[in-house]
């Protein structure tokens, strides 16, 4: 059929565009990371052996993991509630979840700067209530980064969980209960396993996005919370050490792809994790 030949042609413009503006630059970054000026792995060696860089990478992974976990814990009950509500209520609540998502990253990080600062809303409120007598260092700390990042990534987790939970048949929980399972056991043996694909997808998405965060840790974190993206930016913009920056970016890209594969395995393993009699 003529149509069968035509369909790939429709994708061609987008493909060509991405090739030129996206693929080629990424390939060039890879290439650049191996030069500067001699061809070699010297930049990677430097990354692996300098404690500062290793620490920043470790930091980044740790924060990303922590943020993923926190998002999961907070998102699960909300997503579950959303999946049990009727169409009208759930649309309104979903809107409340999506609104922050639509709001600029910068605006949200700024809002947290205002809230967490020494003179910020939270500290002033706690001081006036007499709960503390000195302002808490919430900003420029791990707490600030976690709160800011979770706030931004939470909607992704909620939506990923919700889309899977929506498809879980309510009758399955009733069947479990009529078979003698109290609510906590019905949840453990039936609901949780069936929600795992959503957990895996959401965690993967949030983790991978978290590793590449720049704005939030830059605004809300202290020097000990420096993440890779900040390192890359300083190398490229301030030190103008493009080759080294490219190497850092490549490592980040590798970490992203590794994270993707790791979670993919988890997704695949989920299918095998079925209960036998």
């Amino acid at each position: 059929m003529k149509a069968a030949l035509g369909w790939p042609a429709l994708v061609a413009p987008a493909m060509l565009f991405l090739l030129v503006v996206f693929v080629v630059p990424i390939v060039m970054v890879l290439a650049l990371s191996f030069s500067g000026p001699q061809i070699g792995l010297q930049h990677y060696a430097r990354i692996a052996t300098t404690p500062v860089y290793v620490r920043v990478f470790g930091n980044t992974l740790q924060i990303a993991l922590g943020v993923t976990l926190a998002s999961l814990v907070l998102a699960y009950p909300l997503a579950y509630l959303l999946s049990t509500l009727g169409a009208r209520t759930s649309i309104i609540l979903l809107g409340l979840v999506i609104l922050p998502w639509f709001t600029s990253l910068l605006v949200r990080s700024f809002a947290w700067m205002v809230l967490l600062g020494q003179n910020g809303v939270i500290n002033r409120g706690l001081l006036s209530l007499g709960i503390i007598d000195k302002p808490l260092p919430l900003l420029y700390s791990a707490f600030g980064v976690y709160v800011g990042m979770v706030h931004i990534l939470l909607p992704y987790m909620v939506l990923a969980l919700y889309s899977v939970m929506r498809g879980i048949d309510r009758d399955l929980l009733r069947a479990a209960q009529s078979a003698g399972a109290p609510p906590w056991r019905a949840f453990l043996h039936v609901y949780l396993p069936l929600s795992l694909p959503g957990v895996a997808a959401g965690s993967l998405l949030v983790f991978v996005m978290a590793t590449g965060f720049y704005v939030t840790p830059a605004l809300l974190g202290g020097p000990r919370q420096t993440m890779i993206a900040q390192l890359i930016t300083s190398e490229i913009n301030e030190a103008v050490n493009w080759e080294f920056g490219a190497a850092l970016a490549t490592v980040l890209l590798l970490v992203t792809l590794l994270g993707l594969t790791a979670f993919n395995r988890l997704l695949g393993m989920d299918r095998l994790l079925t209960r036998d009699a």
Partner: protein
């Protein structure tokens, strides 16, 4: 004989409380900015002691802010047009076509959603720097289109997947050629997806920070880039006013499609 009374519903109550707390966590920080932007003091406070429009006035009377806003609108518009055009076509090819490498192409198009923004920004910057595309709106449009393309494709593809091709066949059997079928049958049905994608693309470009930090220059600075510079230096309350306007914009963009026919994002 065991007592036969309705049991107390602890579980449901806890669920509501926890979910409510999470929702409050999501919404309150954003909403708090709004009243703060109307404060009359010289620094941000909550609640504001008295109201004034000083920061809004400051925004509208500072040429730098207005210029940056103009650039952001230009770039966002350009991105929307380019991304929607490329993305709608691509969505058709990917959903309806069945060819070797289709899944790979789809993965490639969607990859900017997952690949860290910093990597994309750096890569594009390193190439654009050599072709003098840094500091130009065109460069920003091209870079933002890479980021916005997957959003358009996802939205249009979603509408296409639920599309029953029988309708198109019916139109053709009634005498409509391919172009008229597209215009009168196909496009109206996929329009909600295209509009949703376009809105996503617009907002993605308008709010985008990381690429803007790298690709902005003296002549072409976007609003987010200028906000970023300002936030790093001092907590200028004008940012609160701008933020409020951005929040309202986001609310409008979210609500408008729902009000019209076609419903919210799938």
């Amino acid at each position: 004989m065991r007592a036969d009374r309705p049991p107390p519903r602890w579980g449901l109550f806890t669920l509501y409380v926890v979910s409510g707390a999470v929702l409050v966590f999501l919404i309150v920080p954003i909403l708090i900015i709004i009243p703060m932007s109307f404060g009359s003091a010289l620094s941000l406070e909550f609640p504001p002691r008295s109201l004034s429009l000083q920061w809004y006035v400051k925004y509208f009377t500072t040429p730098a802010w207005l210029r940056a806003t103009g650039i952001s609108f230009q770039v966002a518009l350009g991105t929307t047009i380019l991304a929607t055009a490329l993305g709608t076509l691509a969505a058709f090819g990917l959903v309806r076509g069945r060819f070797v490498g289709r899944d790979l192409l789809l993965a490639l198009i969607l990859s900017p959603l997952i690949i860290p923004g910093i990597v994309i920004a750096v890569a594009i910057y390193l190439v654009f720097a050599r072709v003098h595309l840094v500091g130009s709106p065109l460069g920003l449009v091209l870079a933002h289109t890479v980021l916005a393309l997957p959003l358009v494709v996802v939205n249009v593809a979603a509408t296409l997947k639920g599309f029953d091709e029988a309708v198109e066949r019916a139109a053709m059997s009634l005498g409509a050629g391919p172009i008229r079928t597209f215009r009168y049958v196909t496009f109206p049905l996929i329009r909600p997806g295209v509009i949703a994608g376009a809105l996503f693309a617009f907002m993605a470009s308008f709010d985008e920070v990381i690429v803007a930090i790298f690709l902005s220059g003296r002549t072409a600075t976007t609003l987010p880039k200028r906000m970023w510079d300002s936030v790093l230096l001092e907590t200028d309350p004008t940012i609160a006013a701008i933020s409020t306007m951005l929040i309202v914009l986001a609310m409008l963009v979210l609500v408008l499609p729902t009000l019209g026919r076609g419903g919210s994002r799938g």
